[in-house]
């Protein structure tokens, strides 16, 4: 076991790729840094918080991007976003077998506010362009900063999301919601509540994550390749049929669970007999239980 959560972006890539196979695009020695941070006297990073490049995984040629949560929480600025866009476009040019997005991010980098927002939008469109060209794009969410903001939307524009149970996927962070609506709205310090609302088990049960794995780089890699294979078999582009099915799932979720207060009630609504046990279940036991109850599961 090699913890995915504790690894840096570069360690995650090294752990995913076949030894020595990774080549970085626009590597840090070229020192392409943010043009905006110096105005705020904020430190820059020579990779602007994201590593992008090409490698083989189990012998198959893929492109990989990994956001570094240790630099500004993995947030997306102008250069960071453009590296992701360029890599996604190159994936289409070079017809790689899959693109793996190792997302760990708070979303738009506020230090580059407007430029960051447009960048996230460009990444979203580039992901959809890549899918349209027949290349599977898979999101992996397992870093301690989670995946938030506009990048939480981008994750759900991919062909599939792999999460660990410890990781979090959402839009607005609990602190932001607590600041706006008070502690009664969302108590950001209630870690158990935060994990019930945003964590991997909840997202897997409700159909927003397509795989949930232990906090292990190998487990992430295997699940991501499986999702990429499934996407290639089913077809990677958006289709009316698939979006109609997603709309039915989201409509049903809203109708069945829209009045509920806590994910425990949703899990109960999905038929889980002892929802209070879910947070404690080991990953294998959880998956066995979830396969019987989760939404979006295919027969």
């Amino acid at each position: 076991m090699s913890s995915y959560q504790e690894a840096t972006a570069r360690q995650r890539i090294a752990g995913m790729c076949d030894a020595g196979s990774f080549t970085e695009f626009l590597p840090p020695h070229l020192r392409v840094v943010s043009p905006h941070l110096h105005q705020l006297d904020a430190p820059v990073s020579f990779d602007d918080g994201v590593v992008v490049g090409s490698g083989t995984v189990n012998g198959r040629r893929v492109f990989i991007a990994a956001q570094e949560g240790g630099f500004m929480g993995g947030a997306v600025g102008e250069v960071h976003g453009a590296k992701l866009v360029g890599m996604l476009q190159r994936a289409v040019d070079e017809r790689v077998e899959a693109v793996l997005l190792l997302l760990e991010t708070g979303g738009v980098r506020l230090h580059e506010a407007n430029a960051g927002l447009i960048a996230v939008s460009e990444v979203m469109r580039a992901v959809l362009d890549t899918r349209a060209a027949g290349i599977p794009v898979i999101a992996l969410v397992g870093g301690s900063n989670g995946c938030f903001g506009g990048m939480g939307i981008v994750a759900r524009c991919t062909n599939g999301v792999v999460m660990s149970e410890e990781s979090r996927l959402a839009m607005s962070g609990p602190e932001v919601i607590e600041t706006a609506g008070g502690v009664e709205e969302f108590d950001a310090r209630d870690r158990a509540l935060v994990w019930r609302v945003t964590g991997g088990k909840h997202r897997f049960l409700t159909g927003d994550a397509q795989a949930v794995v232990a906090d292990d780089i190998d487990a992430f890699r295997d699940a991501a390749l499986q999702l990429a294979d499934a996407a290639r078999t089913e077809g990677t582009p958006l289709t009316l049929e698939a979006l109609e099915a997603e709309q039915r799932m989201l409509t049903s979720r809203l109708q069945r669970f829209g009045e509920l207060e806590d994910p425990l009630e949703i899990w109960e609504g999905l038929g889980v007999e002892r929802p209070q046990d879910v947070p404690l279940l080991e990953i294998d036991a959880f998956r066995e239980l979830a396969e019987r109850h989760r939404e979006g599961a295919k027969p």
């Binding site: 738009v108 362009d129 759900r156 932001v176 409700t206 009316l240 709309q247 809203l254 949703i266």
Partner: protein
Amino acid sequence: MNWQDVAKALFPQGHRITEQDNFLSGEAQVGGQTVTVIGTTDHTPIGVDIALAQATVILNTVREHPGRAIVILVDTQGQRLKRRDEMLGINSYMAHLGKCVELARRSGHRIVGLVYDQALSGGFITSGLIADACYALPDATIRVMGLPAMARITKVPLERLEELAQDNPVFAPGAENYLRMGGVAAIWRENLAACMEQALAQAEPVDRRAELGLERGGRKLARPVAVAVRTGTALQRDA
């Protein structure tokens, strides 16, 4: 700004847009063609319900009116900040809306966004920013978040941010700055109906915002960095 006044100016040939709980939907006439209109009003936050309602109209348009153009009228304070929306997976509802617009684009529908009042953050990514091209009225407010909140999170003094916002397109709210960065294609100052007709005629499915940002000097690195990564060549800073 009152959405009825905007709709009247945009669609003098007539429209049947209705509002329900700050969600706008309906049809309008542009240059003798019928277009689908969706949108929001009264700065309403985008929660799971509105995102799903907008997506439903888009999918219906793709199914029942192949090729019909789509207009997105934007006025929102951003995504709704509620635990309930997060529990239900608001990012998935917004992604669903974005994917429905993308399907429409790929199915031959032209899509034009117009920020007629306010656009913020997550509510903008899956509305104006997912259109083929996004336009704005001169007084539109477009931003990620207010400067006081930004100061709190970035730990940069508010005075410094206010100073930067004077002449730096990255920090200041407003349509003009998004224009310089390529996020807004143009600002409509008069004859909105003619602007809309022209925008629909010119709309194209390719994302050219980084090119525009470079041409206009508001985002000088986005395009060169993407090109350098894509082609494996050296960064052309003045390309």
